[in-house]
Amino acid sequence: MRGQEARDRAERKAAMATLAQSSGDDVVRLWNATGLPSEAELLRGPETGLVTVRGRIGGGGSPFNVGETTVTRATVRLPSGQVGHCYALGRDKQKARLAAIADALWQDPARRAEVETGLIAPLRSALATAHERRRAETAATKVDFFTMVRGED
């Protein structure tokens, strides 16, 4: 049971991470394609505020404040009772509302698969493609050192 709970948490967090990283346009487009219900009671927001980004001295030392970033959050309750949350960088209120609904639907065992396959999986795959492309473009700029042989034998 504990193991299952930990797995659920990790999966829910991964779904939230995918929604947070995806563009609002992609979320809306897929949402419309899946036909997921978008009715929910807004308990909070969507509202935009600041989160202070922390770094670490020397990369791994004590934390320090680097600067702020805009974050938009929303909390919703479905007619079936599940409460969902979203926090995402930027100021996209529509995306925050939909992502909070997605989080609430995800917690409904009857809806989870639909959210995962219709929304999260395609978003995750688009992000993975974009990341892989960026990695490959960066890899092409990797320096291959070679040694100049001087003189004879």
Binding site: I57, G61, V66, R91, T138
Partner: protein, 370 residues
């Protein structure tokens, strides 16, 4: 005598509409869209985010347009906007070791795990103006190469294995990170607070100070241990969730400067470090920050404080370009009454001086008058 007057309302309103006109410029030229600025003037956007201390590309782009490309004015606009938003909290500290790296170079090790990745750099370009850009031709897609799944540890971790470099900076156990947006500056200042001030400090000011350390004012023999640029994930602890909520990714530039150090009464001979971390792709700024961070650690490392770059109060008090521009630019606002008082004073002193230096002439004048 000076009588205070009111006025200028119409002039101010008209000046602002003239500003709006000049900002737009020739109407036959298409207006800039924010996405064009975000995409094509990305490093200007990054500078506004870093010194405006707000990570939001569209807002930075809007500020740049509104400021007609005056980046310090844009930074000012962004800083002002920040104060209108509520604060949700402090993120968990980012981990630059897990960055999705877009550039990573080291000047200290040729062969290091993960390799030297040049990324989209100006280095090794010939700095020749490119007429093809003016013509607006198509640009080829970048090449791709198969990626290796090799971890990319920070260079500092590699040097640390030999024990020849100081560890990452640790504050005392119970230390809570300071926040210059909440508390006024106080000197002496802990390193974490200094780093916050440096990260939003003016690039030009920090660059000049960093340069001064290289030229011999607080010389400390720096090497670029590593520069890495890329995206890191951001997480926030919130009470409503049983895990840290992922917010998305931000692009940052990190610079690990490695400095020779012969040792002192307080520390053994070893490499010491300066650290730079800034929003966006801002390599020059991250390097300047790291040089200044190291110079400002003079007292901590038992070095003599002899140069401007080592003087914490001097550097941190003057590094913020919004404060600096505010105080310098306020000089152009009406000082009529102040100046009137000074004028009276100088007239009186001038007359006294004349009377003292040229008593005969003064006497002549008096006689002539009589």
């Amino acid at each position: 005598m000076y009588v205070a007057v009111k006025g200028g309302e119409a002039a101010i309103a008209n000046a602002h509409s003239l500003l709006a006109d000049r900002r737009r410029g020739d109407r036959s030229v298409p207006a800039l869209r924010l996405d064009q600025i975000v995409e094509q003037l990305a490093l200007g956007v990054d500078r506004v985010m870093s010194e405006g201390s707000l990570y939001d590309r569209e807002l930075a782009a809007l500020a740049i347009v509104q400021a007609r490309g005056d980046l310090i004015e844009a930074i000012f606009l962004v800083r002002a906007y920040r104060t209108t938003l509520p604060r949700f909290g402090y993120s968990k500290a980012i981990d630059t070791a897990t960055m999705l790296v877009e550039r990573r170079v080291s000047a200290t090790y040729k062969d290091l795990p993960g390799g030297q990745l040049l990324g989209p750099t100006f280095d090794y370009t010939h700095r020749l103006l490119d007429p093809e850009l003016a013509a607006g031709g198509d640009v080829a897609e970048p090449l791709q190469r198969e990626t290796e799944t090799q971890a990319m540890p920070r260079v500092s971790a590699i040097l640390a294995r030999e024990g020849l470099i100081e560890p990452d900076g640790e504050m005392p156990q119970d230390h809570v990170p300071g926040d210059i947006t909440r508390e006024p500056l106080e000197f002496p200042m802990a390193r974490d607070i200094r780093l916050q001030a440096l990260s939003r400090g003016d690039e030009g000011f920090l660059l000049a100070l960093g340069y001064s350390t290289q030229r011999g004012y607080a010389r400390n023999h720096p090497f670029v241990g590593e520069i890495r640029i890329g995206e890191v994930e951001l997480e926030l602890d919130v009470p409503e969730l049983p895990f840290a909520v992922p917010l998305g990714t931000v692009r940052v530039t990190e610079c690990q400067m490695v400095n020779q150090f012969k040792g002192s009464a307080k520390a053994p001979p070893q490499f010491t470090r300066g650290y730079g971390l800034v929003f966006g792709q801002s390599e020059r700024k991250a390097m300047a920050m790291a040089l200044c961070d190291r110079a400002l650690r003079a007292s901590e490392l038992g070095e003599d404080v002899v140069a401007a770059a080592q003087d914490e109060e001097f550097v941190i008090s003057h590094s913020d370009n919004v404060q600096a521009t505010g105080f310098v630019e306020h000089l152009k606002l009406p000082h009529y009454v102040d100046f009137q008082a000074e004028l009276d004073l100088v007239r009186r002193m001038h007359a006294e001086y004349d009377a003292r230096e040229n008593p005969v002439k003064a006497d002549d004048k008096r006689e002539a008058a009589e």
